[in-house]
Symmetry: C2
Subunit: 423 residues, 2 copies
């Protein structure tokens, strides 16, 4: 049989056509398909409309090897995926007795009578294979269609993943013949997307052609710019080395704005740097309101190097709990380099930390002035036995964007303080 | 002309077919279209493939009144949307001299020579109207196709929104004849999705039929369950009152797990409660690591009622900075009701707050025991002049889910402490 090389994903559910809910199941699905060498050629989102869904399935089968649907397998009349796919493939449906018993047993265990509507979940198109759902009542289905196949998965992410990593995986692996997609990611912060693109675009432009083209995608989010490289690999060491060399070339051109080339988030890189030196950190936060400490402690095991800190939203807390002289706040303002330095050194000394980091700024929308507009943020890092560093930033965007950029900039200033190359 | 009632959104870009990027532009677009009475009947995602995109546009025109594309309007060869739509509508292309001058002027202002590739951005299908892009070089385009229309918008969210809320809005308003979709949201926390559904499903089931059916969507995320109600309104007061009555019925059945019926997030509801009483809050956080204070201060103007707090990730900070007796931690463990109460009262007293809230727990993946497994979280609230409240929770999920649920539960415990009905 011809191996699967391309797939289309169809997400089903009227809620996915409202302003409230985006399809994210397809991202998980894409990762697993790519790992097996199957590329996603297109995606579609359909409401609970059997006729339109059947048309989408037929169209997808005209262009790809594998069609995967998510959603619409529940027990209600809105759940039309089984019928729509059966219709698209001109298959009759029958009640699967094993499935029926399993669904009844699920209700019996909970001491409930099975609602009649749940019978729908035992109806399967003729010739379909059941994919066991260990996390819910809606089973997945695998339906062969000549050399192609249609796979039906439930919409709840936990159930979809359980089937994807359970019954579906070996079936897909057996039918996929493509080389797996190899990926690399280069993470940077401190320069805007356009500046990163200017450096890397002339380099990676040349890699797009050739027998194993490397595709490069720039993603900008929350003060960080990521370069995603991917290439269909032939599984050889040479293919991997070629991608590693590409990462090395780009990272070398970008210099010290690169904080990881292995997908590690910035807070994990900072954590590794602290661990490597046996140092512990404390933070004093004003405008970020706890967001910096929250992100540092996102990492499992961060209690080894995070002591804690003080959220000094009000100036009185900066004075009482961080030892910032009231006269200094009076003279320079709470958002100033002397105050940030005093906060960083204050929290470091009071919590007996090796590294103290402080953020004070104006996140807006109010509180700005001509001299210090909204977006003015001062960040200081104090390291035991070394001179402190401090920097004033002017961030653009709304309150949430300014706060996020402040957290990223603070993490990056700590990273640079930890790096011996940038003491 | 027949007014627009249905639309399809096509997002263009190969990065949207990778595991890294979901289409979220369509959510913003859907809100704006719904506000004008245009329902989204389907969505599709296409790679940088002119032929497939042209096929998708033709298909969409076979079923809806309006097709909106996002992305693929840049200057490179990967940007195929203009050509694909022209192809789908069998239109020739020409260079628009006004556009060409505007693009050249943009480069001149920055003292740069315009790369030849940018000429592509001035190419427009015959008969297209230009939608000015105040935020970038890629203009939007409006192309009439008989009684239907195809609208091309750039992919960067900021540019898409600028055109959507600028040139596009009046054009769409003039062509849409449908009643706007009215929406309501009921936000709850403290009970699982299935329990909420069991209460509300029998009620709203009856509203699905009728001349103006009300559709209800349950969305569960991060420890909160939201019920979204929407109905095509005829613009009359009666229609609005009917939706308000539906909200009243559902909220009444759900009781005090409802924290807002106007879309206000929980941290804003807590903020309003504090403001109303003229009270100020301080927090002591262990396992949430600053996430609670960060969320409280997400709200603009929160400095009026948030003093700050202490992130006591290490036990020594609980003792030194919150006044928790070391012997108490020794006797009961850091994750215990006595310690949570001491932390809440400690931070309240030390920061001179009216309300103190404390979170201590085991977010995992390590640190659990048979007696206190991962997910055990204790939350306490101390209110000046009143008895404190404390509760022990057992949360499920990974570290991030346990931390998020802890933040939501802490906000909810404060909300209940502030509510006179639940003192």
């Amino acid at each position: 049989m011809r191996p699967f090389r391309t797939a289309e994903i169809i997400a089903v559910g009227s809620e996915l056509l409202t302003p409230f809910k985006a399809d994210t199941n397809s991202l998980v699905l894409t990762t697993r398909l790519n790992d097996l060498g199957i590329l996603v050629a297109g995606k579609a989102i359909a409401g609970d409309d059997a006729e339109m869904l059947a048309a989408l399935v037929r169209l997808a089968l005209a262009r790809v090897d594998l069609v995967v649907t998510t959603g619409g397998l529940g027990p209600t009349e809105d759940d039309v995926t089984r019928e729509a796919v059966a219709g698209a493939l001109a298959l009759a449906m029958h009640e699967d007795p094993t499935l029926m018993r399993a669904i009844e047993a699920r209700f019996e265990r909970r001491g409930l009578a099975m609602p009649a509507s749940n019978r729908r979940q035992a109806m399967v198109p003729d010739g379909a294979a059941v994919l066991v759902n260990p996390a819910g009542t809606a089973p997945g289905l695998w339906i062969d269609a000549g050399e192609q196949a249609v796979v039906l998965l439930p919409g709840p992410p936990r159930e979809m993943r359980a089937i994807l990593d359970g019954d579906l995986k070996p079936r897909l692996a057996a039918r996929s013949g493509g080389p797996p997609v190899e990926r690399r990611v280069i993470s940077t912060t401190g320069r805007p997307e356009s500046a990163v693109d200017e450096v890397v675009a002339p380099i990676y432009g040349a890699w797009r052609s050739g027998p194993l083209p490397i595709t490069t995608t720039i993603l900008a989010a929350n003060g960080q710019i990521e370069l995603h490289l991917s290439a269909a690999s032939d599984g050889s060491d040479a293919a991997r080395q070629r991608l590693d060399a590409a990462v090395g070339t780009l990272a070398g051109a970008l210099g010290d704005i690169v904080f990881s080339v292995d997908g590690q988030p910035l807070e994990a890189v900072v954590g590794s740097g602290l661990r490597a030196r046996g140092w512990r950190i404390a933070a004093a936060e004003s405008c970020t309101g706890g967001g910096l400490l929250s992100r540092l402690t996102d990492i499992p095991g961060s209690s080894a190097y995070v002591i804690g800190g003080v959220v000094a939203y009000e100036n009185a807390v900066k004075v009482a709990d961080l030892g910032v002289p009231a006269a200094m706040i009076e003279a320079h303002g709470a958002v100033s380099e002397p105050v940030a330095l005093a906060m960083a050194e204050g929290v470091r000394a009071r919590l007996s930390a090796d590294v103290g980091v402080a953020v004070t700024g104006i996140a807006g929308p109010d509180g700005g002035s001509a001299e210090k507009p909204v977006g003015t943020v001062v960040i200081a890092v104090a390291v035991i036995g070394r001179g402190p560093s401090v920097r004033t930033y002017s961030f653009l965007g709304d309150r949430a964007m300014i706060r996020t950029q402040s957290v990223v900039a603070a993490l990056d200033l700590v990273r640079r303080a930890l790096s011996s190359a940038n003491p």
